[in-house]
Symmetry: C2
Subunit: 306 residues, 2 copies
């Protein structure tokens, strides 16, 4: 039994109103893998990097209990690199540089030792590659969660639709839900998307929290109101990783467990944005996580007497 | 003991993607008064109309137990009229016509029988008029809730700041909280606004729910995800009226009661937007309200085991 995370492991260079970084380690699988590791001890990664990727960061994965046998290291090649600048509202950003490098012809090889995967997190990546991973699993995992973004809707909609058909949970943001469905109302958008394959849909609304649709029910999770969002990079990946990590921990796929998984995922994402890159995600204690989750409980609980 | 609502009682002509209306009855005090009447039976209105205002609508107030002694009817004059057109997203609208009419020189006279007011709802109106009402109360009400909007921040900021100083709860939307405080982060905005006078701040976020700040705590209430918003006019006034009506019903001013008051206000607002104008607010049963409140409970509750 294990939890497999596929996605990018990469370099980012970030600029926010609070400062800027040189190349630091980022990528969807990095954030999602680290997040999942707080709840589940058998996390495995499939990704590709160049030989410019620091050994110490691979060691960091391993120290979090993450199996990196599926992390391909391409000799003489460079890791995927993305550079972006956030606007003052932190909700919009400009891409300054995208260098695909090793990602251009990424073939996601699944080590035999990964075939015990029960929980599969498809981090944001070309839909074709996400699909290849599903097809290469000898047994269909118990839960497949897929993250994606508007970019793939723009340039690879058919591939995206084919891949969506194969997953259990889709996580996208509100603008993406509208784009994918052609519906403005998120309720109508969700109804339509739930006919496209996934049994559950999570709509991420950033500072406004998240909505879970499925089993004819809706759950609205708040986001923690933060005085400062230092760097939003990786928050969505962290959320998704925390979500599936918690699901793997509890082991039963149902709406109620997903509600809690969203709260745990949101709690980890709220740490992620407090510092640049993965800095805040590296050394969290279980007490910090538990106490942050309690903040979500206080934030959203009320008692109406019948 | 009574609950006094001040605000506009007026005509609106509305156009939404679902249709358009002729002149129908609207106004902040209309929506807030009707909403409050579902929770509290001693609601009184102070407002001004012209003699073009239909007697049957005054009768409708009275049938909801609303005291209209303070509703001035100006002979030979016309009621305030606003006409607006909503865009497809329902979040933005254009004002087509604003005719102040009787509102231009509105002097809010408080009948003696209203001096038992313990709960005062200052519906959206010129801050000077809102202030006059506070000054004319012989005893300071136990709870003063003030609603306002960006329009007054643009043209009467000093009056607005003077009035805000005198109230307990301020309700504004997220853009207005940012404008009033000069802070983008809603947490920072709230901290600043809570130094301006009010002990509590409610930030209304439309389809994203509402945030309550006060007593060093934060509560995040969801909005009910709706397939269709037919007409958003009056939703904020309905929310505020339901909020203060519930507070008057429970009678103790504290954060916990305010959390519930926000849920009840949100429930009434979710009815309001289902039809044009006040149509849906006129004939709600207590069972409908209770069942809608239960939808909010299901929507936002989760159980994390310690």
């Amino acid at each position: 039994m294990s939890l497999l995370v596929i996605g990018t492991v990469a370099f980012d260079a970030l600029e926010t109103p609070f400062g800027k970084t040189d190349k630091i380690v980022g990528g969807a699988a990095t954030y999602a893998g680290l997040a999942a590791s707080y709840f589940y001890d058998k996390v495995k990664i499939v990704a590709v990097v160049g030989d410019d990727f620091p050994q110490e960061n691979i060691k960091e994965f391993n120290e979090h209990g993450i199996d990196t046998e599926g992390l391909q290291i391409k000799k003489g090649e460079k890791s995927f690199f993305w550079s972006g600048k956030y606007h003052n509202d932190m909700n919009t950003r400009d891409t300054l540089v995208t260098e695909l490098n090793v990602l251009a012809d990424f073939d996601p090889i699944i080590p035999d030792s990964y075939q015990d995967c029960e929980y599969l997190m498809l981090g944001n990546l070309t839909p074709k590659v996400q699909q290849t991973v599903i097809n290469r699993m000898k047994n269909r995992p118990k839960l497949i969660v897929m993250d994606t973004m508007n970019f793939w809707m723009d340039i690879a909609m058919n591939d995206l639709l084919d891949t969506i058909k194969m997953v259990d949970v889709l996580t996208i943001n509100d603008a993406e839900a509208r784009q994918l469905s052609g519906e403005y109302s998120l309720v109508k958008a969700a109804r339509k998307i739930l006919t496209m394959g996934p049994k559950y849909l999570i709509i991420k609304k950033g500072e406004h929290g998240a909505l879970l649709f499925g089993e004819d029910k809706i759950f609205a999770a708040p986001a923690l109101p933060l005085a400062e969002v230092f760097d939003p990079t990786g928050a969505g990946d962290t959320f998704a990783g925390g979500f599936i990590g918690y699901m793997a921990k509890v082991g039963t796929v149902n709406f109620n467990n997903m509600k809690n998984a969203i709260i745990f995922g949101s709690a980890l994402a709220s740490f992620c944005v407090e510092k640049f890159g993965t800095e805040r995600l590296i050394n969290l204690s279980q007490e910090e996580v538990a106490s942050r989750v309690q903040e979500f409980v206080s934030l959203s609980s009320f008692q109406i007497e019948g």
